[in-house]
């Protein structure tokens, strides 16, 4: 083995592109000294989870208003959910940037970002579904109203259980399993209700096109709990990785 003479001194020369290293360093030091940066991020994540929770609750309320024929109030809810979606998007991007720039939670960052992105899908989906109601204005027979309300409630319950599990993931990872099984339970319930609803639709004396139209909405509402379940699967793996 031989060492090139010039390479003996290679390490002594600072790598190029080091301009502003001092500034960057002080920025990083400032980051360490500011405990509030962490506090701020904790708050942002909490707010994001709140937004997801609120959005699905607005969806549930919106659906009830639609079924009772209160179109104006339904439209108000749609506007609210749109605003919430925008805020949640911005917040998520903010959280993402902060996690990357400050290289926080290096070993769980990937999991956290994925979970937050997937939770954002819940808001997007709820909003898109409300839009479908707004544009397509499906005529829902009265005999289906209760079934649909119950289905929406169960779907929302599954998301609320997911939200509790997610909060546990951040605050007390050992209790994630206490909430996560509820997501599965509500998803099963939701599937069961959706199946019943579909059977009822096809027993109605209405056009096939309307039946298919209604079935489409039932499937969509049921999908909310499917999304929640997928996220909960991801979450339980992430939690297992963190459990010490």
């Amino acid at each position: 083995m031989y060492i090139k003479f010039s390479s003996l001194f290679a390490g002594l020369i600072p790598p190029s592109g080091n301009r502003g290293a001092v500034e960057n360093f002080f920025e990083e030091i400032a980051m360490y000294s500011i405990f509030s940066a962490t506090k701020d991020l904790v708050m942002k994540i909490d707010t994001f989870i709140d937004l997801v929770s609120e959005s699905v609750l607005h969806f549930e309320e919106g659906l009830k208003l639609y079924l009772s024929g209160k179109e104006d109030e339904f439209n108000e809810r749609l506007d609210i959910i749109r605003i919430l979606e925008g805020r949640a998007d911005n917040l998520r991007q903010d959280i993402e940037a902060q996690l990357y720039v400050q290289t926080l939670i290096p070993e769980s960052r990937g999991d956290v970002l994925e979970i937050l992105e997937n939770m954002d899908d819940i808001i997007d989906f709820s909003k898109a579904l409300m839009f479908e109601f707004f544009i397509e204005k499906p005529e829902i027979p009265v005999e289906l109203h209760e079934r649909m309300k119950k289905l929406a409630e169960t779907a929302v319950d599954s998301t609320q259980a997911l939200i509790q599990s997610t909060r546990s993931y951040f605050y007390d990872v050992n209790t994630v399993k206490d909430h996560i099984h509820k997501v599965k339970f509500f998803e099963n319930e939701s599937d069961h209700l959706a199946e019943k609803a579909k059977r009822e639709i096809f027993q109605l004396d209405i056009d096939l096109s309307r039946k298919l139209h209604l079935k489409n909405f039932i499937v969509s509402i049921d999908s909310i709990s499917d999304i929640a379940e997928n996220i909960s699967n991801r979450l339980s793996i992430a939690a297992m990785k963190r459990i010490v």
Binding site: G11, I29, Y32, I105, P106
Partner: protein, 493 residues
């Protein structure tokens, strides 16, 4: 001019030391991506310089390991050989022990100068290869399970946990860097203390003595090493043996520095003894070996999956290679410097068992059949003398033989307190000790033990204490003072 050249090898040693050892304190933090290399480099550099400065500011004056090398030219080569060996290991990203490498280099000098190698220090190195990783590994497993148990009971947000973990890594890393600087600066710069040309400088924060300037310079050399060349070795320690989570990264540095503190801190021993508590036996532990041991401990605790055993083998072979390499480089370079450049690399020491030495040996209970044959016979090296003893005095035990050689070492010592006035003024010697030295001004001695006996006879301030932990500290300090005097008062005929 020649001094600057001599000093340069100390600085190179400091640079290599910084590059190789920064990984021990911040490797896991950087490897687990919890602390950026930039922050790690700046924090390590700052605390290395601080540790070096504070250690240099103390009244104690230790020459470090290189103190046994009796000629500055030799010290230059010994430091250079160690630096080259450490640099080589750093280039292939292997963390090694600096002090062990320096001892390897000194053994090269011992071979060359015909001095006797203290096999105890050699055994210390070999035992550290095994003892340090085992103790640190066990400690890491213990701390890891305690921390995990605790964390199961505590509710803490993932981000706050991350924050505290990061701060913990920086604090423990900072402390580690501080003690690295304080413990090793003497090895890097100590030998140049008696010859450094620096004069005290007045600054707004006070006077910076010549020693402090020398040690700060050494600290800066270490810091430059950290900033320019330690990135890859940090990855070896922190990421390549086993991927570490931020928590295990903290457990590793915490347990390895606790082990270093508990098992090799003379200050802790003194503190415990002072409080009337039982002391922990001191064990030679190198930080490089402790960190690797702690990582292995964690890896095995987690089931051993994903551990890079090939790399571990390479690291372990590096521990052996570095001192051996330093020894070879040192020996060859000393030969070249002496024979090609005509520079003195050691001061020849002669050995003569005079009748005074014989009497002294008898009082110590050391006798052998052929004793009379050896009286007043001169030997030009320790090795030659020992060889003769081995041949003609087979009844002499190894321990006693070393004592015979040690007591027969001829040194032309003339007491001259003027040359240690600075040390006296600084208060390194107590007023009583200094007074006795002044009384002896102008007296000459043929053997260093004669000076020591005379000092002991004249004042209790120069007498050793009982071998209790408290007394041990005093005795260590006394021995370093006496060594310093033997060196300073040694007059070449």
């Amino acid at each position: 001019m020649s001094l600057i050249i001599f000093l340069s090898s100390g600085l190179f040693l400091g640079w290599s030391f910084g590059a190789n050892n920064a990984g021990n304190v911040f490797g896991t933090a950087v490897g687990s991506k919890m602390v950026s290399f930039k922050v790690a480099a700046v924090v390590t550099s700052f605390f290395l310089i601080l540790g070096s400065y504070v250690s240099g500011a103390g009244a104690t004056r230790t020459l470090g390991k290189l103190g046994s090398v009796n000629e500055i030219g030799g010290a230059f080569i010994v430091a250079l050989a160690a630096a080259v060996a450490i640099f080589w290991m750093t280039r292939i990203n292997l963390p090694v022990s600096t002090s062990q490498t320096i001892v390897g280099s000194i053994i090269g000098w011992n071979f060359f100068s015909g001095s006797i190698t203290d096999y105890e220090s050699l055994m210390k190195i070999v035992s550290s290869w095994v003892v340090a990783p085992v103790i640190a590994g066990l400690f890491a497993v213990l701390i890891n399970s305690i921390v995990r148990r605790l964390l199961r009971r505590v509710k803490i947000h993932i981000l706050y946990f991350d924050f505290y973990n990061r701060i913990g890594l920086i604090i423990v890393g900072g402390f580690g860097a501080y003690s690295l600087g304080a413990n090793n600066i003497a090895n890097v710069m100590g030998v140049f203390v008696p010859v450094a040309p620096f004069r005290p400088i007045e600054t707004i924060i006070g006077t910076i003595s010549g020693n402090e300037q020398l040690f700060i310079l050494g600290g800066i050399a270490m810091a430059v090493g950290v900033c320019t060349y330690s990135a890859k070795i940090m990855q070896t320690v922190g990421n390549n043996i086993i991927p570490l989570t931020p928590l295990t990264a903290l457990v590793v540095v915490f347990s390895s520095s606790s082990v270093l503190f508990l098992f090799s801190s003379q200050n802790l021993e003194r503190f415990l003894a002072g409080m009337g508590l039982p002391t922990i036996p001191l064990v030679p532990i190198s930080s490089a070996q402790a960190v690797v041991g702690a990582i292995i401990g964690i890896g095995l605790y987690q089931g051993g999956g994903g551990m890079n055993f090939r790399l571990l083998g390479k690291i372990a072979s590096g521990w052996v290679t570095a001192p051996v390499l330093a020894c070879l480089i040192s020996f060859v370079s000393l030969f070249i410097i002496q024979n090609v450049f005509n520079q003195p690399v050691y001061r020849p020491v002669k050995f003569n068992m005079s009748s005074d030495v014989e009497r002294r040996l008898v009082t110590e209970g050391i006798t052998f059949l052929a004793m009379d044959q050896f009286v007043d016979k001169e030997f030009s090296t320790a090795v030659e003398f020992r060889q003769a003893l081995k041949t003609h005095a087979p009844d002499l035990e190894v321990w006693d033989m070393n004592r015979v050689v040690e007591l027969s070492e001829l040194r032309n010592i003339i007491v001259n307190t003027e040359i240690i006035q600075y040390e006296i003024d600084e208060g390194w010697f107590t007023p009583e000790q200094a007074g006795i030295l002044k009384e002896l001004n102008g007296r000459s001695f043929n053997y260093s033990w004669e000076l020591r006996d005379e000092l002991e006879k004249l004042s209790p301030a120069w007498r050793m204490k009982k071998n209790t932990p408290q007394g041990r500290h005093f005795n260590r300090d006394m021995i370093s003072k006496l060594d310093y005097l033997y060196k300073k008062f040694w007059v070449i005929k």
